[in-house]
């Protein structure tokens, strides 16, 4: 019973994170300016990382941790690069 509760909770969390994904994607399309799109891209990275972690929790796979860490690092680097581009017009000067 307990394992099925965990499975149901992980499925519910995946559905909730999917709805969050859709909200951030709508803002990515609507976003009136470039900084809104960068912000929603960062939110998409976070939501995707949480989705990967939840998948690892559901399948009890301990190796999903590495991919979530890579997604977190890539989200940080890409958002910082885009913000630097908005600030200065070039990424590395």
């Amino acid at each position: 019973m307990n394992a099925s509760f965990l499975d149901t909770a992980c499925l519910a969390a995946q559905v909730i994170l999917g709805v969050a994904f859709v909200c951030a994607s709508i803002r990515l399309v609507l976003g009136p300016r470039a900084q809104d799109r960068v912000l929603s891209l960062d939110t998409l990275y976070v939501n995707g990382m949480l989705l990967v972690l939840t998948h690892g929790l559901r399948t009890a796979n301990p190796y999903v941790f590495e991919s979530a860490l890579v997604i977190a690092v890539l989200g940080f680097v890409s958002t910082t690069a885009l913000a630097k581009f908005l600030l200065r017009g070039e990424v590395i000067e």
Binding site: A9, I16, R27, D42, T54, L69
Partner: protein
């Protein structure tokens, strides 16, 4: 133990959903910056706590390496958003149509002057 894991993962997902809904529904960019930080810190923290509890229960030892992601997110999210908001302020000031940028520019000399007066 798996009940605790389920509650933690659903709570973390709900915080991430609240952050994304706030990102979608709030009006101006400077209001929209705030909600995703909640999903990035509290939502990530709760899902990572669920991972720690679950894998510690599975492997019968303390598994803490998931907290590495939490530490990284807690450090990187404020840095990223500060650079992003600084870029947004710079863009708004360059176009000259935002009261927030002008307010920040006029408040800075007062702050430095009062600091010097205090010294």
């Amino acid at each position: 133990m798996s009940t605790l894991t389920g509650i933690l993962v659903v709570l973390g997902a709900l915080f991430a959903l609240a952050g994304s809904v706030g990102l979608l529904t709030l009006r101006s960019f400077y209001e929209r910056v705030h909600p995703p930080t909640m999903g990035a810190t509290l939502g990530t923290g709760l899902v990572l706590a669920a991972c720690v509890v679950h894998f510690s229960d599975l492997q019968q030892r303390l598994v803490l390496h998931h907290m590495l992601i939490g530490v990284f997110m807690f450090v990187s999210t404020p840095v990223t958003y500060m650079i992003l908001v600084r870029a947004a302020l710079h863009r708004d000031a360059a176009e000259g149509h935002d009261h927030l940028a002008r307010h920040g520019a006029s408040a800075a000399p007062q702050a430095s002057a009062s600091k010097e007066g205090g010294d």
